[in-house]
Every structure is written in C-alpha cells, then in structure tokens.
Amino acid sequence: MTDFFIVVMAKYNYWLYIILMMIGLYAMIAKNNLMKKLVGMNIFQTAIILFYISIGYKIDATIPIIENAHGGGHGAGPLVIHAADYINPLPHVLMLTAIVVSVATFGVAMALAIKVYQRYQTLEEDELRMHIREK
C-alpha cells in the first residue's frame, strides 16, 4: 500500500491531468447541450495544456529566462549556463500558442452554435436530431 502511495506522489501531476481530461471527455460524450459539450472540450484542452507544462518542470530549476544575461549581476567572467538550472522552454512555447489558438477556435465554435440556434431555436442535441430527421 505504501508503495502505491509513493508511486502516486511521484506522478500526481499525471493523475490530475488524466482526471481533468476524463471530466472533459465525459462532458463531450454524455451532455446533451452543445454549449456544455464545448465547455467539456475546453476542459479537455486545459488538461492537455497542464500536461505539457508539467512535463517541462524540473526540480530546483527556475523560469526559462537567463539571469544576468547582459552583464550586470557580479560582472566578471563569461556567462555559464547549466541546463539543469532552467526549466524546459519548449512545452511553454507550444502551450503559449495553443492557448491563444484554443481561444480563437472556441470563438468559431460559439459562432457555429449561434448559427445553429438561429436556425433551429435550440441547442439540445436530441431536439436538433429530431428537426433534421423531419426534413
């Protein structure tokens, strides 16, 4: 039992993102309202973003901005940079763009939802199916 807890404690970031991701997936599959499905999709995206950010983390490392880069500090001597002192910048770059793109695509999704509502006067999936079948 203690072994299990040690494993969970060392990897609890993955556990958190998987739980969050499954909440989003459940909402996307089971919810009837299109807006709730979109909220589920957003939760799913957030889980992925958290996963990437947690991958970039290193123990005892600081943010990926070089300290005393242009002289300053204690001066003297060339700048020595150790990779272990700074967290991995690549996941941050990928997620930085992913966040903005997800906001923009969410806007498009809501525009589509508004168009669907204007045409059928409903956002409930079963009612939409009924309307489509009648045609």
Binding site: V7, K11, I59, I81, P89, T97, V100, V101, A104, K115
Partner: protein
C-alpha cells in the same frame, strides 16, 4: 447513453492511469523531454540569439515558421467568425433618445429617417441606464491596460511576455470598453474596417520580415541578414527581428479577439451587444 459514456470514460481513464507508471517522475531533471533538444535551447540560445527569454527565442526564432502559421490560424479563426455571423442587412426598429429631455423616439425598421441634431443619441432596444462608477473606473483603467499591453509586447525579449500575451491584453482592453460603455462606442473607436485591416496587417508583417530576410540573401526568417538594412549592432539584430515578428503577432491577436467578441456579442449585427 450516460452509462455507456461513463463506462468508456472510466476504461479510458484507467488505461491512461496505468500507463503513468512508465512515465518519468514529476520534475525529474533527466526525463526524456528535458534532455535532447531542450538542453541545446537553454545552453546555446543566449550566444546564438542574444535573447535572455528562452521562450521568446524558441517561439520567434527556432520555431519561427511554426509561429507564423499559428498566427495564420488565429487570423483564419477571426475570418471564419466574421463570415459565419456577419449580417448587415438585418433591419430592426431603432431607438433614439433626446438627451436633454429624455424623450425616446422609435423608428420603424423600414424607415430610413434619422433624427437631426446632436441632441439625439442612438440607444439599444434593451437599454440599461449608464452606470457612472463602472464607466469612470473603466475610463481611467483602459489606458493603463493598453500601456501595459504595449510593454508586454515590447519587453517580451527580456521578461515574460510577447506578442500573443500583449495582443490578448490589448484586445481585452477594447472589449472592456465595449462592456462598460456599449458596443457602439467601442466600434466608433475601432471600426470594423480597422479591425479587419489590422488582423491582416499582423500576418503580413510577420511574412514580410521573413521575405525581407530572403531578399537579403538568407533563409526565410533568418533575422541575422537584417543587419544589412538596419543600423544596429549585429549581436542584437536577432532580438530586433524577433521584436518585429512579435509586434505582427500582437496586432493580429488583438484585432481577432475584438472581432470575435463583437460578432459573438451582437450576433453579427454590430449594433448592440452585452
């Protein structure tokens, strides 16, 4: 339906959770993600690009091509929003308030007449009285938000920030104006035409800098070649190229955020919103 969904989700989650046993521990310094390329970025990017903020260096230089298309995706999303929702033909009854007396005139949707004089103001059908506190606070706050946005873009090479973040902050300041006053006031300041032009200009600026580098004899987005046209220290030329690219990203993101908000809030009619 709900039970099937729950079953699928539990199965999927269980599989993923059992797979975490093979993952490296959280924050383990020599995990696969932090070994190969990441070390090169951290140790070499300072001497290669002279930009202390590694995120900006990777975003705008090493992965500049990727970021260009991300900006294009944001531009396309704004365009899609506009094309889906924009509807300028839809006619509604219009309301005008005579400011000194408070008399409200209603114009039928088919009439083309406008009340003369400056004493009339166009108002929403679902009119809410102006809130003095909210309007005053926002009027004071918005310029500072915009200055901060410009700082975030301009200082993105040396501190946390960059085009995406600064663009979103600037866009949110315009959205705040639309929320605290009304949509018409915000659209009077930044018209639809300006927003459309800005969202395209940002992408063009990015591509233009890339093409300029090609014209000067380098590869696409090889900022080092810009030293032939800009009189600056060759050591800082890459930082300057990145700044130009980030400004392009910021302009596009700012315009697209406002375009998305305006179209969603007014269902494409640009007359009244939240």
């Amino acid at each position: 339906m709900k039970k099937t969904a729950l079953l699928i989700v539990c199965l999927c989650g269980g599989l993923l959770l059992s797979a975490t046993a093979d993952f490296p521990d959280w924050g383990y310094p020599s995990s696969p993600a932090s070994t190969h390329l990441s070390n090169h970025y951290i140790e070499k990017s300072m001497e290669e690009t002279n930009v202390p903020n590694l995120v900006t260096a990777v975003l705008a230089d090493y992965r500049g091509f990727d970021t260009m298309f991300e900006t294009a995706v944001v531009f396309c999303a704004g365009l899609a929003c506009l094309l889906l929702l924009r509807n300028s033909n839809h006619k509604k009854d219009r309301f005008y308030r005579h400011v000194p007396t408070g008399v409200i005139l209603r114009f039928n949707k088919n009439s083309t007449r406008e009340p003369g004089g400056r004493e009339f103001e166009n108002m929403d059908a679902h009119w809410v009285p102006d809130d003095l506190i909210i309007m005053t606070v926002c009027r004071i706050l918005i310029p500072f938000i915009q200055i901060y946005a410009l700082y975030v873009v301009a200082h993105g090479d040396f501190s946390p920030g960059g085009g995406f973040q600064g663009g979103v902050i600037f866009g949110s300041s315009l959205i705040l104006l639309a929320i605290s006053y009304n949509l018409r006031t915000a659209l009077k300041r930044t018209t639809e035409k300006v927003l459309g032009i800005f969202s395209a200009v940002g992408v063009l600026l990015y591509v233009g800098i890339g093409l300029l580098c090609m014209v000067l004899g380098g590869n696409f987005l090889d900022y080092g070649k810009l030293v032939k046209v800009l009189p600056v220290d060759p050591g800082h030329i890459r930082a300057l190229g990145m700044l130009g690219v980030e400004i392009g990203v910021g302009i596009t993101v700012m315009a697209v955020m406002v375009v998305i908000y305006v179209n969603l809030a007014s269902k494409g009619q640009h007359d009244e919103g939240l």
